[in-house]
Symmetry: C3
Subunit: 346 residues, 3 copies
C-alpha cells in the first residue's frame, strides 16, 4: 500500500467519523446532510481504488464485473434506505438524475474543460456511438411506463406489472450484454496488484459496510434538510443525491478530459449513465419488492421526457466523434434549466 | 415454373383451403384467426414471387411500382375490411405497428442474428441514412394530427380536415419521390422472366383475389379471437396484425441478415416502414372516405409517440453504418416493452 | 455606392412610402398588412447591404457582431410593438415560427432547389453539425418551461421565474460563445468598403428608423387582417410574421443553394435559427419586462414540441453532410402539416 493510498483511507475514515458525529450527535440537519454526502463520495472513491487492485488479479473482465457491482453500491444503499422511509420520489428522481447529471452536466463540463484547454476534442466515435445508442434505447425502455401512465392508457392501471416487465427486460439485456462489454473494455490497463487479497477484501468490506452505515445517516438527514432548504423532493433527488452518488465518476471523468484523454473520459461518463439505466434501476425495482414501498417506474412525465431528451441529445452530441467547449457550455446550460424546472415543490 | 414455385403455390392453396374450412365451417375463433393469418402471409409471399417475374419483364423500375402496389395488398384488404366492421382502433394501431415491428423488432432481430454470426455488421450508410431520414420525417408528419389532438389545440376539433391535409401531403411526397426511388434501387438484380405474361397475370390475380377473401375471414375472426385471448384491440393491431401483415418482408430481411447481406436486409426492412408511412396509410385514409367509418389519423398519443421514437431511434441506430447484436437486443427489448404497454384494454 | 445599391434604396423607399399610405390612409387591412410586411423585408435587406459595408471596415468579427444585432432588428421591433398591444400569442409563435421556417421550410426548399439542379448536395459536415447540435440543445432549453407548464409540474406556477432563468441561461451562452463563433466564420470574405462611414451610418440609421415605423404599422394591421382572413393568432405568428421577418435570410439561402453553394446556404439558414433561439428570444424576454405584457416562455405545448422536433430532425438531416431533393420535399411537407395544425383558432 502506497503512502497516498494510506492517506486516502485515513481521510475517508476521518470524514466518516465526522459524519457519525453529525448524525449520531444530532447536529444541524443541513450540516449532517452535507458531511454524510461527502462521506459517501469518499467511500465510493475508496471502493474504486480497491477494485482497481482486483483488476490486476482478476483481469480486466472480472474486475469489471466487481466494479459494476460495487461502484454503484453507495447509490444502491441510499436508494434502498430512502425507499424504506417511503421517499419514493427521491429515489425515482435520483435515478433519472444520475443519467441527466452524467449525460449533460458532467459531459458538458468535460467538453468545456477539455475543449478550452485542448481545442476541438476528437475521440474514437465507434465506442462513443455504441454506448450512446445503447443508452438512448435503454432510456426509451425506462420511459415507456411513465409515458403510458401520463397519457392515461389502460396500462396506467397496471403500473406495477408494467414496471416489472420493463425492469425484467432491462436486466435481461444487462445480463446478455455484460460479458461482451467487459471483454471490449480497452484502454483500461491494470497495474499488477500491490495489495494482498486479504487487504483488498478488508478494505472493500470496510468501505461497503461504511457505505451502508453512512447511507442510512444520509437518508435520515435528507428529509429535514430538504425541508430546511425549501427545495422539492424531486430537486433533492435529481440534483443533490444524483451528483453525490456519482461524485467519483464525475471527478475522474473531468480529470481525464482536462488531461486530453477524451476517449477514456467519455467512456467513464457515459458508461455510468448506461449502468444506472440498465442495471441499477431494475435491480432496485426487484429489491424493492422486499420493502413496504415498491419502486414503480412511473415517473413524473417531465422527468421521463428529460430522460428521453438526455438520451437523444447525448447521442447527437457524441455521434460525430468531436466536441468543443461551445457544445459543452450549452449542455451545462440545458442541465441548469432542467434542474431549475424541478426546484419548486408542490 | 420451377418445381419449387409449384410447391409454393400448392402449399399456399392448401393453407387458403384450410382457412376456408375454418372460417366457413365456424370452427374455433382463435384457430381460424391463426390459420387465416398464416394464409395471408403465404399469399403475400406468392405475390412477391410473382412480381419478381414481372421484374425481368418490366425492368427494376416498373417491377418496383407493381411491387409497391401489390406488396401491401393483404395489409390494405385487412385494413379496409376492418374499417368496414368499425374496427378503427385495430387499423390505426396496425399501421403504426407495421412501422414499429419493422424499425424495432425485425431490425433488432436482424442485427442480433447477423451480428451474432458475423460480428459487427457494416453496411453502406448513405442509403440507410436516406431511408431512415425520410422515415423519421414521414413519421413526424403522420404524428402531427395526433399531437394536435392530444394537446387540445383548436385543430383537435378539425381532425378530419387535418387528417386529409396530412394524408394528401404524404401521398404527394410519395408520388413525387417514387420515380427516383425506383431508379435508385441497386442490388436488385432480376433474373430473366421464366413465366409467361399470362401465367404471371393468373397467379397475381389469383393471389390478390385470395388475399381479398382471406382478409375478410381474418377480420371476421379477429374480434372474437381478441375477446377470447383477453388482449386489447390496440395490442391485436399493433402486434398481431402488424406482424402477420409484414410476415414476408420480415422473414426475407432476417434471412438476408443471417447470410451477411446487411445492406439488402436493412433496405428491405426499412423500406417497408417507409412505404407504410408514405403510401399505405394515406391510401387507406382516402379509400376510407367511401366507407361508413372514416380513418382519422388521431391515434392514441402513446402510439404517436412510439411512432416518433421509432423513427428517431431507427435513425440513430443505422446512421453510423454499423450495428452489432447488442444494439439488436436492446431494440428488441424496447419493442417488447412498447408492445406490453398496449396489452391491457380499457 | 453602385447604381444597383441606389436602385435598392430607391425601391425600399418606395415600398415604405406605399406602406405609409396604406397605414396612415386607413386603406384595407389585408392590403396594409401585405404591403407593410413587404416593406419590412425590404428594410431588412437594406440593413444587410449596409452591414456588408461595415464588414470591410470592422473585419469579419466586428461586422458579425453588428449583423447579429441589426439583422434581427425588424423582428425585434415587430415583437416589441406586438407585445405592447398585448399580442403575446403572436410573439411566441413568431419566435418558434422563425426556427421552424428556417429549419424545415427554407432548408427543405434549399435542398429541393439545390438538389434538383445539382444532384446530391455535399457540404462540410463539421460546421453544419456544430450549428445543428447547438440549435437542438438551445431549442431544448427553450422548450423546458413550456413542458414544465404543460405537464402540470409545480414549476408551472412559477412560469415568470423559470422564464427568466431560461432566458438568462440562453443569453449567457450567447455572450460566451459569440466571440468564438464570429472568429470561426469562414467563407465570408468581405470586399473593401466602398461606402464612407458617414453614408453607412446614415443608411443604417435610416433603415433602422424605417423598420421601427413600419413595424408599428405592420402590427396595427395584423389584428384586423387576422380577423378578416379567419386565421388564428398562432398561425399568423408561426407562418406569416415568421416568414416576413426572415425574408432576407430565406431568399439569400435559397439563392446560394441554387448556385450550388450548399455550405454557405446551410450556414446562413441554420445560423438564423440559432440566433433566434439563443439571442432574439431571451432579449425580447428581458426587454418585455419594461412593457405591460411580459413575454413568458410557456408556449402552447404543440409549439414547444414542434420546436424540439425541428431541432432533432434538423440535426438528423444535416448530420451526414449530404442532402438531396427528396429530403427537401419531405421537410417542406412536414412544415406544411405543422403549419396546418395551427390554422384553426379557438
Amino acid at each position: 500500500m502506497t503512502r497516498r493510498e494510506l492517506v486516502e483511507i485515513g481521510i475517508t475514515a476521518a470524514i466518516v467519523a465526522a459524519a457519525a458525529v453529525c448524525a449520531l450527535g444530532g447536529l444541524d440537519d443541513v450540516l449532517t446532510f452535507a458531511v454524510t454526502g461527502l462521506a459517501l463520495a469518499a467511500l465510493a472513491r475508496l471502493v474504486g481504488t480497491a477494485t482497481e487492485q482486483l483488476g490486476g488479479r482478476l483481469g480486466s473482465g472480472g474486475a469489471g464485473v466487481v466494479q459494476s457491482a460495487l461502484g454503484n453500491l453507495p447509490e444502491l444503499f441510499v436508494a434502498l434506505f430512502a425507499l424504506n422511509k417511503g421517499l419514493q420520489d427521491v429515489v425515482q428522481s435520483a435515478l433519472v438524475g444520475s443519467v441527466l447529471a452524467n449525460s449533460m452536466l458532467v459531459l458538458g463540463l468535460a467538453f468545456t474543460v477539455g475543449g478550452a484547454r485542448h481545442g476541438t476534442l476528437r475521440f474514437n466515435p465507434e465506442r462513443a456511438r455504441l454506448i450512446a445508442t445503447l443508452t438512448v434505447l435503454a432510456a426509451a425502455i425506462l420511459a415507456m411506463p411513465s409515458l403510458a401512465h401520463a397519457f392515461h392508457t389502460p396500462a396506467a392501471r397496471h403500473e406495477q406489472a408494467l414496471t416489472l416487465i420493463c425492469a425484467g427486460v432491462l436486466l435481461a439485456i444487462f445480463a446478455l450484454t455484460l460479458p461482451s462489454f467487459l471483454r471490449g473494455f480497452v484502454g483500461e490497463v491494470h497495474a499488477p496488484p500491490r495489495w494482498s487479497v486479504r487487504l483488498t477484501a478488508v478494505v472493500l468490506g470496510g468501505a461497503a459496510g461504511g457505505a451502508a452505515l453512512v447511507s442510512d445517516w444520509f437518508v435520515n438527514a435528507l428529509g429535514p434538510a430538504i425541508h430546511t432548504l425549501h427545495m422539492s423532493e424531486d430537486f433533492a433527488g435529481l440534483v443533490i443525491v444524483a451528483i453525490a452518488g456519482n461524485a467519483v465518476e464525475n471527478v475522474v471523468g473531468l480529470q481525464l478530459a482536462a488531461r486530453n484523454q477524451p476517449d477514456f473520459a467519455i467512456s467513464v461518463i457515459m458508461n455510468s449513465s448506461l449502468q444506472v439505466t440498465l442495471a441499477l434501476t431494475p435491480a432496485i425495482v426487484f429489491l424493492s419488492l422486499f420493502f413496504s414501498t415498491h419502486l414503480v417506474l412511473t415517473y413524473p412525465v417531465l422527468l421521463a421526457f428529460s430522460l428521453l431528451l438526455a438520451g437523444i441529445l447525448g447521442a447527437i452530441v457524441v455521434y460525430d466523434g468531436e466536441s468543443n467547449w461551445q457544445e459543452g457550455i450549452v449542455l451545462v446550460g440545458l442541465y441548469v434549466v432542467i434542474a431549475a424546472s424541478f426546484w419548486w415543490g408542490t
